[in-house]
């Protein structure tokens, strides 16, 4: 009924210590992970070929990045990296200092020390280590009992001394019994003392001054403020922030705007990049960052970025950079929603818009060429006798010719341009199947996935026909591990390196978006699958199509790396046997290149 | 019938978009 308060400061330090540990230990672990183990910003992949490609692209990127972009990137990277004096670090430092202070206080507190030493430790009493055997315990007891036996004591000892030694003897006997006698041992293990349950006191682990008449109104006030102001404030802030954003990371108002545009979209309208940019310009995220600007302003800024002009009335490049860098998540969100309403044309246009924004190139027929650095647009457009739209076509000419076509006179500049051109990954389809792990074919109502085998190649390299690659290079392991998780093969590929994108405000990595549509109605059937791991080592190979004329006996297919993409299907195979036709689209988000767009037959057989 | 007419009438605009794109 009557609770004791912690007058002697025996227990409240432990309480505060526990609270501190609850906060500090997870925080410390996560901070250590972030500082030392987080690999998401890595430029080392453990894959020397991939690092080689990375290095080449980084060098070229650095050469062509403008000063404005460089400054913006530095500021962005600085804020992303953890600062020494960030809030987290300060909390950690102060927290651990408090812990040290409390531990020191506990050690200096005699009352705590006394109650700790009051604990019954049979091993210490017998003078043996906790791992001693029964024989050691017996011999230790025998020695001590001889020393402390009341009958063996000298008659000269005073009453106090005698009492002390007798008490000692009792303790030693108890200790011996606690370790050997069954009943006493049970008592010791259950209650911590061989005599059974000791007195237990219950109290409140808080000093009494907190509840004394003087301090208690203050404590109540603190409680009131915490419960009625501080707690609701933080919970509301957290809740509205969580509620404001969809799973894909875009604002709910932006998402509902996109859904509205998608639902009211007329099939007679042709989807263009301009249309997508117009939809983007109404994003809520932009309004939050720049409340004073209108949708028309945002649209103009994005167009300025794509056309590499500066027509907007807002001349500060930071405004444009923030808007453009936000487009990444907005476009991914729109892509997801477009797949949700099954609109293939809009999904495709979203990906094309992505490329236009990343490369700052408008969606003209010449976009593959215009994404290259140093191109003299006027000379190129008026010059070509033979219509050149693709990098592949460009590389049918000798380097000097290419310089003339692109209007590049400087040899050093031409070399850089050709480096970029030959390091843009192109995909060549080798094989695509519907696979059901453990089955030789697709059976009715099974769950197949799509397995795509392709070659990553440079536009400069000679085309290798798919037949040149033996089945052994394309087949997959059939062991149990593979059947359990057929998608594990994707994890073995290294992450994509940073892209060549000197106009995009932040450093970014290429990704491949995979869309699947039904050929019967031409509509998409599932959300996009984004691939961010792919080996680009083939880009390092010297296989210039202007020099290699024929694929002779010296051609070794094993030297080439085959890329794999696995696309899970969102629905099972049809319940009846027959053929179903699917269109698979695999597009790069960052480059204008030869993407994959092909038809696959699902042969459903018993 | 009206939807059909509207779709038919959008042909001119579509042509212009194609010309601009290509």
């Amino acid at each position: 009924q009557s609770y004791e308060y912690d007058e002697g400061s025996e227990t409240w330090p432990f309480f505060v210590l526990t609270m501190l540990f609850v906060v500090l230990v997870p925080l410390s672990i996560s901070q250590i992970y972030r500082l030392f183990l987080d690999r998401s910003n890595a430029t080392e992949y453990g894959d020397p070929e991939q690092e080689k490609v990375q290095k080449i692209l980084e060098e070229v990127n650095d050469e062509f990045v403008t000063e404005d972009v460089r400054v913006f990137r530095q500021a962005y990277e600085k804020s992303a990296r953890s600062n020494i004096w960030s809030k987290r670090n300060i909390v950690l430092i102060v927290g651990w200092a408090l812990v040290a202070f409390l531990i020191q206080r506990i050690r200096e507190n005699d009352a705590i020390v006394a109650s700790a030493t009051g604990l019954f430790d049979p091993y210490a009493l017998l003078g043996v280590s906790p791992s001693a055997t029964d024989r050691d315990i017996k011999s230790a007891y025998r020695k001590l009992s001889v020393k402390f036996h009341p009958d063996k004591l000298s008659k000269d000892l005073g009453g106090e001394e005698r009492a002390r030694i007798e008490e000692m003897y009792v303790q030693i006997s108890k200790a011996y019994e606690a370790l050997t006698d069954e009943i006493t041992k049970a008592n010791y293990l259950t209650y911590g003392h061989p005599d059974g349950p000791q007195t237990v006191s219950h109290g409140i682990a808080l000093p009494s001054f907190l509840v004394d008449r003087v301090a208690s109104p203050v404590v109540i006030l603190i409680y009131a403020v915490m419960l009625s102001i501080v707690l609701p404030y933080f919970v509301t802030k957290w809740w509205s922030r969580t509620n404001s954003f969809t799973k894909k990371g875009i604002h709910v108002k932006t998402a509902s705007h996109f859904v509205d545009r998608l639902a009211n979209f007329k099939p007679s309208e042709i989807v263009t990049v301009d249309l997508i940019v117009n939809w983007l310009s109404n994003a809520e995220e932009f309004k939050i960052i720049f409340p004073n600007l209108t949708a028309a302003d945002f649209e103009e800024l994005i167009h300025d970025h794509i056309d590499r002009t500066n027509n907007s009335r807002l001349k500060d490049p930071k405004v444009r950079f923030r808007i453009v860098s936000k487009c990444h998540s907005l476009l991914h969100g729109l892509l997801d929603l477009a797949c949700g309403v099954r609109n293939t044309e809009i999904a495709n246009a979203t990906l094309e818009t992505f490329k236009c924004i990343v490369q700052a190139v408008p969606h003209t027929p010449y976009r593959q060429i215009l994404q290259l650095p140093n191109v003299n647009k006027e000379k190129f457009l008026e010059g070509s006798v033979d219509e050149i739209y693709t990098l592949g076509k460009l590389f049918t000419y000798e380097d000097k010719e290419i310089g003339k076509i692109l209007g590049i006179d400087d040899e050093h500049k031409l070399k850089k341009t050709l480096t970029v051109a030959s390091h843009i990954p192109h995909l060549k389809l080798i094989k695509a199947d519907f696979l059901v792990p453990g089955e030789p074919q697709v059976t009715p109502s099974s769950t197949p996935h799509i397995s795509v085998k392709f070659l990553v190649r440079s536009a400069k390299q000679k085309i290798i026909p798919p037949e040149k690659f033996p089945e052994s290079m394309l087949e997959e392991p059939q062991d149990f591990e593979f059947q359990k998780d057929p998608f594990s093969i994707l994890e073995s590929q290294p992450p994509m390196p940073y892209s060549y994108a000197p106009f995009f405000p932040t450093k970014r990595r290429n990704a491949l978006c995979c869309l699947v549509a039904l050929q019967k109605d031409g509509k998409l059937i599932q959300t996009p699958v984004v691939i961010d791991k792919l080996s680009l080592q083939n880009l390092n190979k010297d296989f210039d199509k202007r020099q290699v004329k024929d694929l002779d006996e010296n051609f070794k297919p094993e030297e080439w790396s085959i890329g794999t993409i696995k696309i899970p299907l969102g629905q099972p195979a049809p319940a009846e046997t027959g053929d179903a036709f699917f269109r698979v689209i695999i597009k790069s988000t960052d480059y204008f290149t030869s993407d994959l767009d092909f038809t696959m037959t699902m042969q459903v057989r018993e | 019938n009206q939807a059909l007419t509207r779709r038919y009438n959008s042909i001119f605009k579509r042509k212009e978009v194609c010309i601009k794109e290509w």
């Binding site: 009211n264 099939p267 007679s268 739209y389 693709t390 990098l391 592949g392 076509k393 460009l394 590389f395 049918t396 536009a459 085309i463 050929q519 019967k520 031409g522 199509k545 036709f581 269109r583 030869s594 767009d597 092909f598 038809t599 037959t601 | 019938n1 009206q2 059909l4 007419t5 509207r6 779709r7 038919y8 042909i11 579509r14 042509k15 194609c18 010309i19 290509w22």
Partner: protein, 189 residues
């Protein structure tokens, strides 16, 4: 807010209308105008005989021109026939009949356009046919052809592959696919 003009007998909106409202008002006005000018008090969804005759005459003369290899005139007549069908038919006439008529005439118009080398217009009409649900190999063959001639090689291949999923053994589509592949190989160097 909507206002009604007793002279023209038409509805219009006060202020800036939404797209949906604009379409709805347009449809109501079209219906009203057609109803007012209808002379027969017992009108039915059956197509008007005189309008049908007019359309048929125009269309037939267009076909005759085509047979005589006078394609510009053929195009003019067939286009006129389609215009008549769009303008002169009452909006309450049976949709199924109107659709079939339009699809039939469009197919002939497309063929004439292709002969005349007017590929962009042929493509628009082909897209219209597909939008009305006519997804058939014959339509996709012509669409592939038009896209190839317009230099849209990637799109041509995609349409050709779609045609082949409908009829995997179609010889013309197979030949077109080979042509697409060949042209794309050259396009990509």
């Amino acid at each position: 807010e909507i206002s009604y003009d007793t002279n023209s007998k038409k509805l219009s909106s006060v202020g800036e209308p939404t797209e949906g409202l604009e379409i709805a008002l347009g449809q109501v006005n079209t219906l009203t105008t057609a109803l007012i000018s209808e002379t027969n008090p017992n009108f039915t969804p059956q197509p008007h005989e005189d309008v049908s005759k007019l359309i048929k005459n125009l269309f037939d003369s267009g076909l005759k021109n085509a047979q005589q290899n006078k394609f510009p005139e053929a195009l003019k007549n067939v286009s006129l026939a389609i215009e008549m069908a769009q303008r002169k038919r009452a909006p309450w006439e049976a949709f199924a009949i109107q659709l079939k008529e339009l699809q039939f005439m469009l197919r002939h118009k497309i063929d004439i356009l292709l002969v005349l080398g007017r590929y962009l217009e042929a493509l628009q009409d082909l897209d219209m046919l597909m939008n009305t649900g006519l997804i058939q190999p014959e339509v996709l063959i012509r669409k592939t052809d038009a896209l190839l001639k317009l230099g849209q090689l990637d799109q041509a291949r995609i349409e050709c592959e779609r045609g082949l999923t409908l009829q995997p053994q179609n010889a013309k589509l197979k030949a077109l696919l080979m042509e697409c592949t060949r042209k794309l190989a050259d396009f990509n160097g």
